[in-house]
Each structure stands twice: as structure tokens, then as C-alpha cells.
Symmetry: C2
Subunit: 248 residues, 2 copies
């Protein structure tokens, strides 16, 4: 596909040269987090930049009403907590360890100096932010124009494109453990609706779930569901009499 409809992620650390990376590592110190720990919270000073070395953390926004919107995940090697760096403002989003994790914590001013010296690295940061920007624009579009099922399918495709381990031809294992609540928070719906939509896909034989990890059985068909919904619906209803996915 020439232009994938989902936004490919940007890999920051992986694109730094070895020596640059070492220089960067020398600027900070390591901190460990237990599952569920907050790395930073809205309102806390944004005076550090983080590079995840182990585990997984999620970046999310909280509404006063109590709703959570998961903006993105960070995996080892990825950098986060950047947005407040430039102007050293307060955090407006929250971050929490999804598993026991460890991060390299770099004081904001040092990282800034580092970037000013190394134009190459600065461009990578620009690239990274651009990617995330597009990612959010994409979410926004999904949210306003797709129904829950479609949003869920697109999420799965996006996740598997980035984090999936191919098992066989069409099968992919997403070995990141997600609760239904988290899935819901990623596509802007409720736990119940996410649960229902997920089970509908399960019943169609498109995926299975074991130990909170999603196993995509038929990636091709899953993609058809969003790129060409009409024929996809026809296909699935041919196999089973279930007609859960709307024709358009």
C-alpha cells in the first residue's frame, strides 16, 4: 500500500548514531517504576525528559468528568515527556507504567542543550513530534467519522503494525496485555461497548484473546473490514449467519 491510512510511528533512539546515544545516556540517571506508578501527572513541573529502557508506559489525558483518553504508548527505546520541554511548562497529560519499568531521566535543560548542539537529533525530535501529531489527527478523524467497531478494528491494525509479532501467514500476536477499559480509552468509548465490539470480532473468528493478549487470526479480513466494508461484511456473513458488522 503506497500511503497506509494509519500513521506509522517514529523511532527516535533507533535512529541515533551509537556515540550520540551514549552521550545522551550520560546526561541522565535511571529510575525504576512499578506497574501502576505514575511517571508524571498533570500539573507537575515538566522539568524532565524520559527515555524508556524497560517496560511499557502509557500517556493519557484526563477529563474533569473522569474520562480517560489514552494518547499513545511508549516502548523501550522511546522517548516521552517531550512536549513540555521547550517552554518548561507544567504537564498537561499523565503517564503511568503499564508494567514494571525503568526509564532514563534527563533534566529538561540538559536535553535542550543536547538538541541545540546536535542538529541531527533535533530533527529526529521534530520528526517524532510530527508523527505523534499525525497520530492524534488520525484519532480525531476516526472519532468523528467511525463507529465503535470500525474504531476498534483500526486500532487493532495500527497496534499490530507496530507491536505485533507475526505468528504465521495471516496471524499476528499482540503481546501487550490490555484490559477492555484501556481499549475503550484508546478509541473513546465505554468499557461495555468495547467489550461487545471485541466479542463480535471474536465470534467472527477474526481474533482470539488469551491472557489479556490479542491474537489476530485473520489480519487480511480485518483490514478489509475497514478498507472495503461492504464486501467484507458480505464475506463474513457468508461464513456465519452473524451480521454484526454494519454494511457501511
Amino acid at each position: 500500500m503506497e500511503t497506509p491510512w494509519f500513521v506509522p510511528p517514529s523511532d527516535f533512539l533507533g535512529r541515533l548514531s551509537g556515540s550520540t546515544r551514549d552521550a545522551l545516556y550520560a546526561l541522565g540517571h535511571r529510575i525504576a517504576y512499578r506497574k501502576g506508578d505514575a511517571v508524571f501527572q498533570p500539573g507537575s513541573p515538566g522539568d524532565n525528559v524520559y527515555i524508556l529502557t524497560q517496560g511499557r508506559i502509557k500517556i493519557f489525558a484526563l477529563s474533569p468528568v473522569g474520562r480517560t483518553v489514552i494518547l499513545w504508548f511508549c516502548f523501550p527505546g522511546e522517548i516521552f515527556g517531550l512536549a513540555e520541554m521547550a517552554r518548561a511548562g507544567r504537564r498537561e497529560v499523565a503517564s503511568e507504567a503499564c508494567a514494571d519499568s525503568e526509564a532514563l531521566v534527563i533534566p529538561q535543560f540538559r536535553f535542550k542543550e543536547f538538541l541545540q548542539r546536535d542538529g541531527e537529533a533535533a530533527m529526529l525530535v521534530v520528526d517524532l513530534l510530527s508523527c505523534r501529531l499525525r497520530g492524534l489527527a488520525d484519532m480525531l478523524l476516526n472519532l468523528t467519522s467511525d463507529d465503535v467497531t470500525t474504531r476498534l478494528v483500526k486500532l487493532l491494525i495500527r497496534l499490530s503494525a507496530r507491536y505485533g509479532k507475526p505468528v504465521s501467514d495471516a496471524e499476528t500476536l499482540l503481546d501487550i496485555s490490555l484490559t477492555h477499559q484501556e481499549i475503550a480509552d484508546m478509541i473513546g468509548t465505554t468499557r461495555q461497548s468495547a467489550s461487545t465490539a471485541l466479542n463480535a470480532l471474536k465470534r467472527q473468528g477474526l481474533l482470539s484473546v488469551k491472557k489479556h493478549c490479542i491474537h489476530i487470526q485473520n489480519g487480511k479480513m480485518l483490514e478489509d473490514l475497514v478498507t472495503n466494508p461492504v464486501t467484507a461484511a458480505a464475506q463474513t456473513s457468508a461464513g456465519s449467519s452473524l451480521q454484526i458488522v454494519r454494511p457501511f
Copy 2:
């Protein structure tokens, strides 16, 4: 207010030094656009960066279903078309002149060189992208947790904070001409719903509209509507028997 709930914008050109600005201007050439012209479209090569010198342009995403999501506006002095710069990919969003406009068009590779040389400017770009990132995160949050009226009110506050001309104490004039369709596209709803919500606010005496420009009559009360909805609803219903804005 210590931490405004809306995201303040970042001013790129205004924060460059005079000489740097001149250097930047020397890198590109000017192009004029008529109202309604597309500056770039999804799929077109992202090989330029733009600095608006006159007029106003909007950046928006288009869904295959035909829905439009306006991501942000650019005003004179602002830079846009950045996101595809770093990796020189294809455009994923569209931009269109809202009025007759003129922009300085800089080839992507030149701007990149410029940034690599000037660490200061690079940091401003990082800052700019961070701001937009937060802006989109905010929209995402609004979209999932607020109803149409609240989204509209928040939009108005945000716009007036940035582009409003204070007329008197509580009165502000937003002299950017917006159609109901555009308003709808900014808050992820339909033209009809935006129209209805806007008229409800009009009837409450909070604003008036002349020549497609919104005149905010009572900014304070408008803000109360979203920061403390319960009392605000009580206030308004005391004056008129209309009870359009939901209590919470």
C-alpha cells in the same frame, strides 16, 4: 488562572530574532492564494514549508466518508506544513485559504538545513509542534467527554483567547468569519447541531453574530458555563426561563 484548561498557542515567527527572520525570508519565495484555494492536499508531496504573510488558512483532515475535521487555523506570521518536513513524506492533511492569502514558500530541504544550523529556531519548532500536539490532545478530550454545547463554548473561549479583540470589559469581538459548517468541523458535530447550540447561546444573551463574526457579550458567564456548569445554569435560568444548557 494558573493553568488555563485551554492550550495556549505558540508563536513561531514572533519569537525569532530579526536577523534570523530575514535569513529565513531569503530562503523562499512568495505565492498568493485566493479564498478557497488549496495550499496543499492529502497525497501531494510534502516538499515545502509555508509561512503565512497575509490572510488566513485552515489545516484539516478529511475522512473517506466525507467528514472534515478542522485541526487548526494559521494566521499571518505562523508557519505550517511542518509535519511532513522531517521525513519528506506525503501530506496527510489538507490546507485551504479561508480568505485571499499570501505565503512564503520554503523548500523543505532548505528549511531543514536552516534548522540544523540554528538550534534556537529548531527549539521553537519543537515548541510549536508541542503546542499543536497539546491542542489536539485537548480536542480529543473534549470530543469524548463533552456534549456539543460545551464543546462549542470551549471553542469560543479558545478562539477569543487567541484571536479575540477586546471591545469593552466583558465583550470580545472574534473578527474571523466562520460559517456554521466550519464551526461544526472544529468541534466534531454536524452543521445543524452547531447552528442550534449557537442560537441557544445567542438567546441567552451571551453572544451575537454579525457578518459571520461572533461577538461575545459576556465572556465571564461563558467561561462559567464550562468551569462551573451548575451555578452557571442557575444564573442563566434566573434571567430567562430558557433552560437550554444542561445542568451538568
